[in-house]
Amino acid sequence: MGHALTSEQAAARTLFHLQDEHDHEAGGSTLLGFWIYLMSDCLIFAVLFATYGVLGGNYAAGPGPKDLFDLPLVALNTSMLLLSSITYGFAMLSSYRNNVAGTQAWLFITGLFGAAFLGIELYEFAHMIHLGATPQRSAFLSAFFTLVGTHGLHVTFGIVWLITLMVQIGKHGLNRANARRLACLSLFWHFLDVIWIGVFTFVYLMGMLR
């Protein structure tokens, strides 16, 4: 088209483009991006669960779930993680009310429950290794330590993140960036609890039924 646009047409065209523009805030898509990361993490756990499902019965004449698992201890561990989930929820609720002290206190309690979970898990691992049930002993134990250990490693990094965030909130308060980080860690923390439902059901409870 060789002819020039009239000013009216130009204005209409500009308006059309303006209407199509979205309001992109810094970090506006972070939560969705983080969710998609969690979904990829979910696939890692799916592969580890599948490995455990295939190899979980291969004891190589070594100890099996009934010789090793202590269900009251697993129940205690499960309650630690569940309690940490609700205390994280309370931290989120405090942050909505812009209550910095409350957020920090609930985050601290969440960290304590997380640390208790890890402590109990490490005690369990140490006890098993002491009995000779090391990851090298059988395919069942290799798969068990890989699956449960990967979950434990996630919780460990969750606690590192939680402490980092507490320092950040202490320095800068509940600003936009910290609120966003808090929401991301919330997704991560609750996601780990969802994975743990799979672990205690498929590994511990169904292991005792084998």
Binding site: D23, E25, G28, L31, L32, W35, I36, M39, C42, L43, A46, V47, F49, A50, T51, G53, V54, L71, P72, A75, T78, S79, L82, S85, I86, G89, F90, M92, L93, Y96, A183, L187, H190, F191, D193, V194, I197, G198, F200, T201, F202, L205, M206, M208, L209
Partner: protein, 116 residues
């Protein structure tokens, strides 16, 4: 903050968290009781029941703790979850199915002769 972002941001309430927690406690306690207590049910029945409880509890966590709704992030949260679940089911069911048949078909000769 634009109205659009505000609407898609998941916000929980105290009521939601407490409901989720109570439901989770119940949905955890029953499977543990079924396995640890002396329940007059077959192992297969117990296994199926505790798997069902796990599935329900995962949904409870998704709804009450992760605040998932079909509308969050314009539906992309749910879309990516459904896609992931399809991959998870293929991975789990496929691995168990294929490896079970591999095990059966590649059994050492002395094991097969013992079975016959």
């Amino acid at each position: 903050m634009s109205a659009h972002e505000h609407a898609s941001e998941p916000h929980g309430t105290l009521r939601e968290y407490v409901t989720g927690f109570i439901l989770s406690v119940i949905l955890t306690a029953i499977p543990f009781y079924l396995v640890m207590g002396d329940v007059p049910l077959s192992k297969t029945t117990i296994a199926l029941v505790i798997m069902a409880f796990a599935a329900v509890q995962m949904i409870v966590h998704m709804v009450y703790f992760l605040h998932m709704t079909p509308r969050s992030e314009d539906g992309w949260t749910l879309t990516s979850l459904v896609f992931t679940l399809i991959l998870v089911v293929i991975t789990l069911a496929g691995s168990l199915w294929v490896m079970y048949h591999m095990d059966t078909n590649m059994m050492p000769k002395h094991v097969v002769s013992q079975l016959l």
